[in-house]
């Protein structure tokens, strides 16, 4: 039988802020949530292991401070992991740990194999550069040196995310929050990455705009067969988008499974609380 290989494997990823001490580095250390009261070290992610398959959307839910965003930033090399391994099928056939690569290799992975959409467009876009330049930036970084090709690709993407072409040369700071988010999505897609990371993309947008952004994400996944990791604290978003879901609490994965399963029959006490608090 053919067993499908995950496109991304994360093994035992940990990220801590602080040195750690004799109290918190023991296996059964006493922590306040994910915080060591003795040395004040924060354990943002602890032993997180994830498999992502081609074309699927993986949802990550959890309360704020549960380590969702740290995990995403670690995957996109915005933060350096403390320990852990990551393997991408499209990078040396998954034989090399991406977290121990050189800065240049990490940049290559970031620019060519990953796309990231941040919750705050300020982090993902250069607000005073034109939108089309923002989208081209990732293509330039991936090695493209042909203006004509980049312009036509960027226009194609802007069209895909429903931004009128006549506004392509305007800087994103002139745009509404929803439009900025759509420019970010276009930028993330511009180098045709096999994996897209979405961090709370609809948080802070009004409901109708949320719906159109979610619709866009769903369409992209269907048409381009891109794998995605979607982080949200909003279960409705997860329910709509994700095939599988991971629940995080205090930096650890406490439950994972098919989204329907998690939402209909939550096992962990925290997940139960989370699901039933949904209005």
């Amino acid at each position: 039988m053919h067993v499908e290989q995950p496109i991304l494997q994360i093994r035992n990823l940990s990220k801590q802020y602080g040195e750690g001490c004799t109290n918190c580095l023991q296996p059964n250390a006493k922590l306040e949530k994910n915080f060591c009261p003795v040395c004040k070290t924060v354990f943002a992610c602890k032993d997180v292991s994830i498999d992502l398959y081609r074309g699927e959307i993986l949802g990550i839910v959890g309360e704020s401070g549960s380590g969702k965003s740290t995990l995403m930033k670690s995957l996109y090399f915005d933060e350096e992991v403390t320990t852990g391994e990551g393997y991408l099928e499209d990078f040396n056939n998954g034989s090399l740990n991406i977290f121990t690569q050189s800065g240049q290799q990490k940049r290559y992975i970031r620019n060519s194999l990953l796309g990231m959409v941040y919750q705050n467009p300020m982090l993902g876009l250069k607000m005073s550069f034109s939108s089309i330049s923002n989208i081209a930036e990732k293509q330039i970084a991936a090695g493209n040196r042909h203006v004509g090709h980049m312009v036509s690709r960027s226009n194609e993407l802007l069209d895909q995310v429903n931004i009128p072409l006549k506004r392509s040369k305007e800087p994103p700071k002139n745009f509404s929050g929803g439009m900025q988010q759509r420019v970010q999505i276009a930028k993330a897609l511009s180098s045709n990455p096999p994996i897209l990371l979405l961090d709370e993309v609809t948080t802070g947008l009004d409901l109708s705009v949320q719906a159109s952004v979610l619709d866009l994400i769903k369409t992209i996944q269907r048409e381009l067969q891109i794998s995605m990791i979607v982080v949200s604290h909003d279960l409705a978003v997860i329910r709509m988008l994700a095939d599988r879901t991971i629940v995080m609490l205090n930096g650890q994965i406490i439950e994972q499974g098919l989204t329907d399963q998690i939402l209909e029959d939550p096992q962990h006490a925290y997940t139960q609380q989370l699901v039933y608090s949904l209005l």
Binding site: Q104, K126, F129, I140, A141
Partner: protein, 280 residues
Amino acid sequence: MSKFPFAFLDEQSKKEIRRAVLKGVAIPGYQVPFASREIPIGRGWGTGGLQITLALVGQNDVLKVIDQGSDESVNAENIKKLVQKTTGIETTIHTSEATLIQSRHRIPEVPLRSDQIMILQVPEPEPLRHVERSEFKTKQMHAEKEYSGAYLLLFEQIMRYGQTSEGADYPVYVHNRYVMNPSPIPRFDNPKIHQSDALVLFGAGREKKIYAVPPYTNVESLAFDDYPFEVEAFEGKACKATGLTNVFLDEFTDEETGETYYLCNDTSYMQEYLEQKRGI
């Protein structure tokens, strides 16, 4: 006079600056940090270039200083006087007579020789500063040869104006390794640094950086495949005084007639050309 050491700066300071220059020569295009000294002109008025000049000048040197292509501008005159008073060396306006040429904005029209040193004053040495404010990060980018930011700036200009609008300080690749700001010389002068016979030094006093392009180094202006690098074109325009067309021109307006005319930007070159024509 005797209160000051030769060339104003003390020997230790000059030694430190020369050491930075040597390191810059050894790593073409790399910005070497140095301890920029206080000198009696304001930061931003050519202190980087002046410090290199003071560190290099010897008793047999002949100095030429240009500002905006002119030997007679106030800034150029003042710098020349300072060096002359503290060293007693000769100054000149003739490019071919000079051994040290300090300049901002221009590399002279007369081709430089291997026994001359070109010293350029730099306001902003970092070509990536407009895309990344953090020095820590730009240093990392240089180390990793990550120059997409420099191309992004050019791309943005093409998007906004249909062409690269960088009139001066157009970034260059030095020996296919470091991207460098060539100081605010016009694009017109960028090709003069490529495979130059003379050593070209860059000093940024305010930003405390020194860098260099040694002689016979490849210097290539950044460009896109479909937007090649082009120097300023003065099509159909000529210098009113000399009739020259292959030089960098300044635009003037005759205030009485309202007529627009052009003159050589390099005033000493224009003067030499006219004297030769008149047979002096």
